[in-house]
């Protein structure tokens, strides 16, 4: 499997570290909302198809990336820096909203 890092170009998956499901939305650290915390820790969409994921190019430029990978074919349809222009990715929340809209 190849992941095309936006900085380094196409690299073997061995250079990357999976950093988890990109659909999670982390509650505010001060939050006492246990349902939200439970959802963050345990709830997964587990789709058979396109999946939002967080990967780090740990054996290369070391940036964190948001990757859309098809869980059936391993096809990677998009790769982008987690950090957008303003230092924060919208990866998790946007993907989750989209999934919730469908259900």
């Amino acid at each position: 499997m190849l992941i095309t890092c936006p900085y380094c170009g196409p690299r073997d998956v061995i250079e990357f570290t999976y950093q988890g499901d990109g659909n999670r939305e982390r509650p505010d650290p001060a939050s006492q909302n246990f349902e939200a915390w439970n959802a963050y820790v345990y709830d997964r969409l587990n789709p058979a198809g396109d999946h939002n994921e967080i990967w780090q190019h740990s054996g290369g430029c070391r940036t964190h990336l948001r990757v859309v990978r098809n869980t059936l074919t391993h096809e990677i349809s998009s790769v982008a820096f987690m950090r957008g222009d303003h230092g924060r990715g919208d990866h998790g929340s946007a993907a989750r909203r989209k999934a919730e809209d469908k259900s």
């Binding site: 936006p6 900085y7 380094c8 170009g9 690299r11 073997d12 061995i14 250079e15 054996g59 290369g60 430029c61 070391r62 940036t63 820096f81 950090r83 230092g87």
Partner: protein, 195 residues
């Protein structure tokens, strides 16, 4: 300053080795730069950092990911967004950058004692390195001056192409001897000379 010892020393054997009867096709050396510095810009400060690199080294970084250049004495290349490796034959590069790269621009990390620089040159340099790293070493994909970050068996490596058939590889000092041994073994079949 005290003489810096090379971590390669017990495995550094000057002379020709391997299958060199038909000629030496690889030259291996340790470049031993006096300074190796890593620079990182805060988001949005990349242009000011690149200007600082020009002020200190006189080298004007080209645009683009992994862009770099070398004048044979000083070398610079990008290895990540807003991050650069700079090497100099002379000592004192970190101190020079610390004066110019203010805390508002970014950070300066002195790696002079933390990295070892190995140079592989010769007509088979691309071919030997292709056995180590799963990246494209062809000249159009990896132009002269450019840098790449990659790994060999989990050993992180930064590679700069310093001429058409020459590459400088920066590895962690603690892994340098094992990396050097592997590079020697990989060069055996084409014949190599350690200088």
């Amino acid at each position: 300053m005290v003489e810096r010892q090379s971590p390669l020393e017990p495995e550094f054997h000057v002379g020709s080795h391997g299958n060199f009867e038909h000629g030496v096709e690889i030259i291996l050396t340790e470049t031993r730069p006096g300074s190796i510095v890593q620079l990182a810009a805060w988001p949005g400060e990349e242009k000011r950092l690149i200007a600082a690199i020009r002020t200190v080294t006189g080298l004007a970084l080209p645009d683009g990911a992994g862009g770099g250049l070398s004048d044979g004495v000083k070398s610079v290349f990008g290895f990540a967004p807003g991050k650069f490796t700079v090497a100099d034959e002379a000592e004192g590069l970190a101190a020079a950058f610390a004066k110019v790269v203010t805390p508002a621009i970014g950070t300066v990390t002195d790696l002079s004692h933390g990295r070892t620089a190995v140079r592989i040159a010769g007509p088979k340099a691309e071919w030997v390195l292709a056995k180590f790293f799963a990246i494209d070493f062809s000249l159009p994909a990896f132009p002269v001056g450019a840098g790449r970050s990659t790994t060999h068996h989990d050993v992180f490596a930064q590679i700069q192409r310093t001429s058409a058939d020459q590459f400088d590889i920066y590895v962690f000092r603690s892994f340098a001897r094992s990396f050097w041994k592997a590079l020697c073994h990989a060069s055996e079949e084409v014949g190599y000379e350690v200088q």
